[in-house]
Symmetry: C2
Subunit: 229 residues, 2 copies
């Protein structure tokens, strides 16, 4: 059961990565034809992937008018971060109560990878910063919580792509380290305080004006066709 990736799955994954790493900027049109052509499949598969991305909130589909990378408003941005605070607090509370055996190790090793990507100034660093929070959710073991956290984190990335500075690292890695410490000590108070501060820092970074949208997508997408990490 290794590679059960149907074609639409592959397209979904590639598009998702491209959006989360800010290669596809908010507002970029995503016509089914272009996507199908660049991936060498039909519109059907492309459409399928777009539908899933839409339910993730990463693209917006207007009837008969096509899909585009979602352009969250400042209002929606506030909603996202408000709800994200709520959910991440829940994660912290649970992890302070019960942390899996090698959970701390996993977190530390993830932060190491973040640092590496940041030093290499790879676009992966943007995505990895978000995935730190997803990893936190995964340690709770709740599928649903993972799902919801993934959604708000994805949307946060989009918000930063829309309003934040270009290629901002989204998350201060220092704060990730501090958070791990607080979790290790099973100190929910401190952990929540760090998380709140962390999220506020991210939110505040979303205060610049927006930028124009990029041109043809096929060139960009070619870099995201591979399934590798």
């Amino acid at each position: 059961m290794s590679t059960n990736l149907s074609r639409s799955d592959a397209i979904y994954a590639s598009l998702r990565r491209a959006i989360l790493e800010q290669a596809l900027k908010p507002g970029t049109k995503l016509p089914e034809d272009s996507i199908g052509d660049t991936f060498g499949v039909s519109r059907t598969s492309a459409r399928n992937a777009l539908l899933r991305l839409a339910s993730d909130g990463l693209v917006e589909i207007k009837p008969n008018r096509g899909a585009a990378v979602a352009m969250p408003t400042l209002e929606e941005a506030e909603e996202v971060f408000a709800l994200r605070r709520c959910l991440e607090r829940e994660v912290i509370e649970r992890l302070c109560k019960r942390m899996p055996r090698d959970g701390i190790d996993a977190l530390i090793s993830h932060v190491r990878e973040e640092e590496r990507a940041l030093q290499a100034s790879s676009p992966r660093s943007i995505r990895l910063a978000g995935e730190f929070h997803i990893l936190l959710a995964e340690l709770t073991g709740s599928k649903l919580l993972i799902d919801f956290i993934s959604q708000v984190v994805s949307r946060s990335s989009l918000i930063l792509a829309r309003f934040g500075r270009p290629h901002s690292a989204e998350c201060g890695i220092d704060e990730h380290v501090q958070l791990i410490e607080a979790l290790k000590e099973q100190d929910p108070q401190t952990a929540c305080r760090i998380m709140d501060h962390h999220l506020h820092a991210v939110e505040d970074r979303a205060k610049t004006d927006d930028k124009d949208d990029g041109p043809d997508i096929s060139e960009i997408l070619n870099r995201y066709m591979s399934v590798s990490d």
Copy 2:
């Protein structure tokens, strides 16, 4: 711009209602052909609707094996209710801080409708009980919160359909009334206590064993083809 319902939208809505009102029980197979035939459309539209229902967690799609009404496990049930408590507390806190002008009226009138449906022992009562919580979320004004609450409420309905007593009303309407009172008084403590008790009552109702799954779906679906409420 009144009826912009594409065909797949209509199918999505009908299937969703049928599932939430427990006409389609968990485990029921949902072949694209059958659905397309009963609704008089092609498999494409049916497939589309099923994909959306899958992302709502209402149906499970296994590759090359088709879709079926989701059968949540007891483990998943716990996850759902745990997260639901988290989210509904957030709703209550926000509503205690700021309740829209005629929000209380809207809640009261909704409960009235619940009572009417219950007296008429209409299957609508099951859905209305869930929609009370969605209405609460709507009063916060946060699109995202509405979305998340809708998801956990839908999944709760499914859990009750799987484990609860047949056609149980899911929610004690009394508790809805009490909750409205607490919200009116802007008393988050009491409101949260009622909500917790309420959700525990619902959760506890999910302790019977499960039942077998029903036969052909086309007959059932015919009752849900109309778009009316």
